[in-house]
Symmetry: C2
Subunit: 373 residues, 2 copies
């Protein structure tokens, strides 16, 4: 049989088997009572090399994690955040402002509970914040965390983007400088990277770069990696260590968990939601595979020691393991921590959750081993 015909035959057989599997599932939506029927349909649908056919599922909340983690895992999809598709700049502003306003009271309350103060600063012409814990332990005096917030290049303006900075200050016991970079629709690429670069230069103007760590989650993690590539090209001193948390290392939908964890991750849910729109809005015509937009396509040689963080349900897990792969190949010191059941960046969502303390405790342990004192 010619290869093309064989592929077409397989595709038809697979489609038929998918329908059979869906039907088998449909009859028993809660629990697969008839495992043998599903097994037979699945064996048929996955009996030749090719795409993986997976039936519909109802995935329980794990019973072996603490209650706060169970609540994060059980939480409904975040609408309208995940699937936003604003029609124009005004609609983007309205949505971003609404989400930002909604976040502020919780952040103020958390800062008060954690004993963290926040004050606006200017960083070489760029807006930012300094977050200070009640006490900086002896070992961290003189060290600075430079934080780049996440939010798909659109969410998290101003104070609304300071959750991770607050947690690094409170749990790690650090002075944290957070950059409030410009974002689209008003300021597409390269404004965000220009601001991140200017902010970093302002920090190292009066702090030894070896005492500085750059920390950022999601888009902030991708920007952290892109900033390292830019600093290398500019000949600017790199920081002592970096902590890209679940970095958006690839703005194209490349990476296996974009599909395996689609509809499983309850934060990002699907690349076809706001992520794809935000990527285009930010890139504004630039190639999404430019390493300044998708740092996975850059050269990682010479990057500082790196700690990566993700979760088993994270839509971006492949972004993280592909980043780990490139760091390995480049001989960079790296660590990866993956957390049971967590979707994208959920370690930022509940300051009181044990997993939040665990994640920032691990980052602090790592930085203690790599930052100068």
């Amino acid at each position: 049989m010619p290869a093309q015909l064989r592929a077409a035959t397989c595709a038809m057989a697979c489609a038929a088997a998918l329908l059979a599997a869906a039907a088998a599932q449909a009859q028993t939506p809660a629990v697969a009572q008839d495992f043998q029927a599903l097994e037979a349909a699945q064996n048929l649908a996955n009996g030749a090399p090719g795409p993986r056919a997976v039936p519909s599922k109802s995935i329980p909340v794990p019973g072996d994690v603490d209650g706060a983690t169970q609540a994060l895992i059980a939480a409904p999809y975040r609408t309208p955040a995940w699937d936003a598709d604003p029609a124009d700049a005004a609609a983007w502003h309205a949505l971003v402002d609404k989400l930002a306003q909604a976040a502020l009271p919780g952040l103020a309350k958390a800062r008060a509970a954690l004993g963290v103060t926040l004050e606006p600063v200017m960083l070489g012409g760029v807006k930012g914040f300094v977050l200070t814990p009640r006490e900086v332990p002896e070992a961290h005096r003189g060290q600075v965390i430079y934080n780049i917030h996440g939010g798909g290049y659109v969410y998290g303006p101003g104070e609304s983007g300071t959750a991770e900075a607050m947690l690094m200050a409170a749990i790690g016991g650090y002075k944290v400088v957070a950059v409030d970079y410009r974002m689209p629709p008003d300021a597409p690429y390269p404004a965000a990277m220009d601001d991140a670069d200017a902010g970093y230069r302002a920090v190292i103007a009066d702090t030894d770069p070896k005492k500085v760590a750059v920390v950022g989650t999601s888009t902030g993690g991708g920007m952290t990696l892109a900033l390292m590539l830019r600093l290398k090209a500019e000949g600017v001193a790199l920081p002592g260590a970096i902590a890209p948390g679940t970095p958006w290392a690839d703005l194209t939908e490349t990476g296996d968990t974009y599909k395996t964890n689609e509809w499983v991750d309850n934060v990002l849910v699907s690349y076809s939601g706001y992520l794809s729109h935000a990527a285009q809005l930010y890139a504004a015509g630039h190639d999404l595979k430019d390493p300044q937009l998708s740092p996975i396509y850059g050269d990682f040689h010479g990057l500082p020691p790196t700690i990566l963080t993700s979760g088993t349900r994270d839509l971006f897990l492949s972004n993280i393991v592909r980043t780990q792969q490139k760091l390995r190949e480049a001989g960079v010191v790296q660590e990866l921590q993956v957390y049971e059941g967590l979707s994208h960046a959920q370690y930022l969502f509940d300051p009181a959750a044990p997993v939040t303390r665990d994640v920032f405790g691990e980052i602090t342990r790592f930085l203690d081993g790599h930052l100068a004192r």
Copy 2:
């Protein structure tokens, strides 16, 4: 509304939404052409706290990995291995022998290509093999890898279980001692652990334990962890480092990826396949949560430096991250490497694949940092 009624209402709504999502998918089996319909159904099905409703999917083979990795990811389900349910001891023997015989020619060919020799030995009364590479580099002379093979406590008897031992010898450049432990149906728990213990004692009878690493994948990884708990209890010296690859740390179906990666992993596919039968056959009435059967329930304090390996499609990924969590809590030095797109233990399947060299290269780098010379 009372909580119970609210839950029931939600369950009905979720079931209805699942059916709607399945129907939406059924109309467009290859690609979700009508994303908005699927989005709406999914938002409805995941609009309240609870289990995650996931529609049926066709997951493409990733385009960003090398050809050998693509072939591993695209491979069909492994029948009859994954879904075996032999009726009695004779049927188990017939299946296990058939799979073992099928593996031998490929292993002999791979040993020849890699320049590894294999000879049977006795280890304190227990059967085993010594695998020797063409050359042991200066840095590894005097060091020994003690390997415990995988196979769900039923597969991999004799030479058929020596793939990992061969790869550690060839890629790492080590003398490897592999234990051919007894298995059910003839010898249920604790025979396998008794043999693993006896074999380890035989190895350290003439090698400094600090120059020994215990390496095992899947069931061999779970046995590696259980062996550490047993050695601690027995007061026997622990090895210098361990490398449990995707360890079966929990024989109960506990761990989120038992569900999120069900039908996605093309090696193990589902706990409801042979795994559940093998667990019962091995335990033979013992509690599956006994730390000698499911080491995740043991005390990890004092374990040697540990490198863990898994893949994004691995049904056991949660076994690995739960193990990492317990190692973190116990203050054990640990590293985790996760590989893009890999299902369970696929780094053992193709000796020529770049990912195989990568995995065993990383383990060797880790051991170089922790074994005595």
